[in-house]
Symmetry: C2
Subunit: 405 residues, 2 copies
């Protein structure tokens, strides 16, 4: 059984690395704060006697040998956060993995299969796109060299940032061949809370489409330039953000569209914007619908920019098709939860997760616990200690079941 | 007669302080580059034998005594620029003033009245709002203490920035009581060029209304938050920018509306924006129409924010009613220009100018010269040497006419 005080204690300790005034955490991938958080996790892994490896993209793995030298059960998630993130997103999955190890150590029990606890680099995609970058490299769906060359919006390169914080490891990504993969995560949405369920058995993850648009207009004087002569990159960007909402409504059926980034240049009160940079995040569990949304938005942008007489370029920052998890694994989560007296809901995930990178290569499952008010990527993110304990106990039991196969 | 090589030479020299790669200038008020530009202007004033004073808001004045100790003719403008500005905006008026002094020195002629060449602090309003700040303080329409406490968007305070660059002067603002005021300026709009006229005799300046809005929503996860549960500050801000354009079209008749600043926080691809800051610049030569535009926009913003479930606050950054220049002074400019064989157009100014702060207290006039392509607040801003020479000769003649009264 999980020691929830120990698990919560580790969550709170890790929350100190990058703690924001007023609550919440800013621990962007490969920042100084990420280094502190990684150091802390590595220390805990070593205290628990795990063999720690760091791979070339900075993924951390702590290895617990089993009774036999079989392929391991992997429990993984991430410790990077968005710039205004909470204590739970990602961190819970990594620290629940360490809690599983702690329970085994306390009891002296050695499972048949090895168990690996993993923390993947840059899951959030808040600093470097795409999201799920470390797990994508681990599973070979993103090329290591490509990933190492990716830059953030200030031009800092992943390879250099890894070296700078001392996490450019030696191990080859993918050096562990998982038997199966589990990830415990906060839901980050409103469903479990609204429906009063304690555990989500995650059936799959929505498709994710991230595009960056750069619009180039002509800067001019706000007072002297007649409306008909304007080529206003800021107006075009605003029109795109409004059109994005319209596309979401048109497609309906759970389609979400978000313009989270919108930057003007020179961004001055009396200057018509010369350029704008914006991002569009679109998701749908249905790949056809997602493609339809992408197509509609592309049409809207072309029409808006034509009407305003501005040019634009676009760049795909991330594109993942919807993922379905292994039905047996979903059933295992649901069965374990019900055995433990929990109410369970099968549900798909609105957020992307490292688990989705494992789904194509090994049996994979995720456990969700409720997010208060459905709030995440917000310093107010909160999940109750009872829900954390319930989720971690499901993870423990499910992992040990697989570790004895 | 103006020595246009000397005038252009000074324009090019001053353009080196804050020169941008690719052309244009960034010499934001009270920046290090502004200090360099001021030093250069002060050196020129001293070389010309002017008595230089710096007042408490950093306005520079160079004083040439007349044959009698009468109130002076003032020739003024500014040398601050926007972040992506041109070589001419403001600088031309100051350096044409120095050129008038140079012509007098060369000829040995001493006019009846003193002549003052002035460079006012922070005319652009690009760094500190309101615009025309130095001339407003000089003319008493803005209180010195209030002005000194104004902050830029990074929190830097005018009083401290003045001291830092060594331009917190001793003189009281308004220490010179002008007989009349002249400003030569580039038009910054398309009218003179489109109509093939060489000189604009400026009849007045549009009313200017600058408002900053801060919208507060709730940040949440872009993937997990259903569209109906969003309180997206970024979407609300974009909707305001689109509504602003609609209001301009509704009012018609030369009403201009610009959203030049739009900043999201946290500004991340997968986070619904928690807050947005935007500015709205509205102008009209008709005060009633301008008030109507302000009212319509306020209604739009209230409705948008209500529908999205976000809160907002607003703050007036600048508000100037339309200004009419003295008819005799406008006629003087037109007459001098025609005597010099120039084609003249009477026109109102789309941009704000230091001259408008003088209009209520003394006879005031402005001379416009054409802006190529109507482009300003852009590194491509350009006025031909012939047009500069023509404008400076009108300024010279008009100023000397008044200096003999
Ligand atoms: N779980 C999570 O917030 N992942 C970040 C990637 C995304 O879904 O935007
Ligand atoms: N002339 C000029 O560009 N002034 C700046 C103030 C404004 O009109 O926005």
């Amino acid at each position: 059984r999980i020691d929830s005080d120990r698990l919560l204690g580790r969550l709170m300790s890790l929350g100190q690395d990058g703690a924001l005034e007023g609550g919440g955490v800013c621990r962007l991938a490969l920042s100084d704060k990420d280094k502190l958080g990684r150091d802390r996790v590595v220390d805990w892994m070593k205290e628990l006697g795990l063999r720690v490896t760091i791979d070339k993209i900075g993924n951390l793995m702590g290895f617990l040998p089993g009774r036999e030298d079989l392929s391991p059960v992997v429990l993984g998630s991430h410790i990077d956060t968005v710039a205004t993130g909470g204590l739970y997103d990602g961190n819970l999955g990594v620290l629940a993995g360490l809690e599983v190890i702690s329970v085994l150590k306390d009891s002296g029990y050695v499972p048949l299969r090895p168990i690996v606890v993993a923390a993947f680099t840059n899951e959030e995609g808040a600093r470097f796109a795409p999201d799920m970058l470390g797990s994508a490299v681990d599973r070979g769906s993103l090329d290591l060299e490509t990933a190492l060359a990716i830059k953030d919006s200030d031009g800092f390169v992943i390879a250099e940032e890894l070296a700078r914080i001392g996490y450019a490891g030696e191990a080859e990504p993918g050096h562990i061949d998982p038997y199966c993969f589990f990830e415990l995560h906060v839901e980050q949405g409103p469903v479990l809370e609204e429906e009063g369920e304690q555990i989500g058995a995650v059936t799959g993850v929505q498709g994710i489409s991230w595009t960056e648009y750069v619009i180039e207009g002509i800067s001019n004087h706000a007072g002297t330039t007649p409306m008909r002569l304007r080529h206003d990159a800021g107006f075009a960007a605003a029109s795109v953000a409004v059109a994005a909402r319209k596309v979401a409504e048109e497609i309906g059926d759970g389609q979400v569209v978000t313009v989270g980034v919108n930057e003007l240049n020179p961004n001055l009160v009396n200057v018509i914007a010369r350029s704008a940079r914006l991002t569009v995040d679109m998701r749908n569990i249905d790949e056809q619908k997602l493609q339809q949304a992408e197509k509609r938005l592309a049409e809207e942008i072309a029409a808006i920019c034509k009407a305003e007489g501005v040019r634009y370029t676009s760049r795909t920052l991330a594109r993942f098709e919807p993922v379905m998890f292994d039905q047996n694994m979903v059933d295992l989560i649901a069965d374990v939860a019900m055995e433990q007296g929990r109410s369970v809901r099968c549900m798909s995930s609105g957020a992307g997760h490292d688990a989705q990178m494992f789904a194509p290569v090994c049996p994979t499952a995720m456990v969700f616990v409720p997010s208060q008010g459905g709030i995440s990527h917000n310093i107010e993110e909160y999940t109750s200690p009872e829900d954390i304990k319930a989720g971690a106990n499901v993870l423990l039991q499910a992992a040990l079941t697989k570790a004895e196969e």
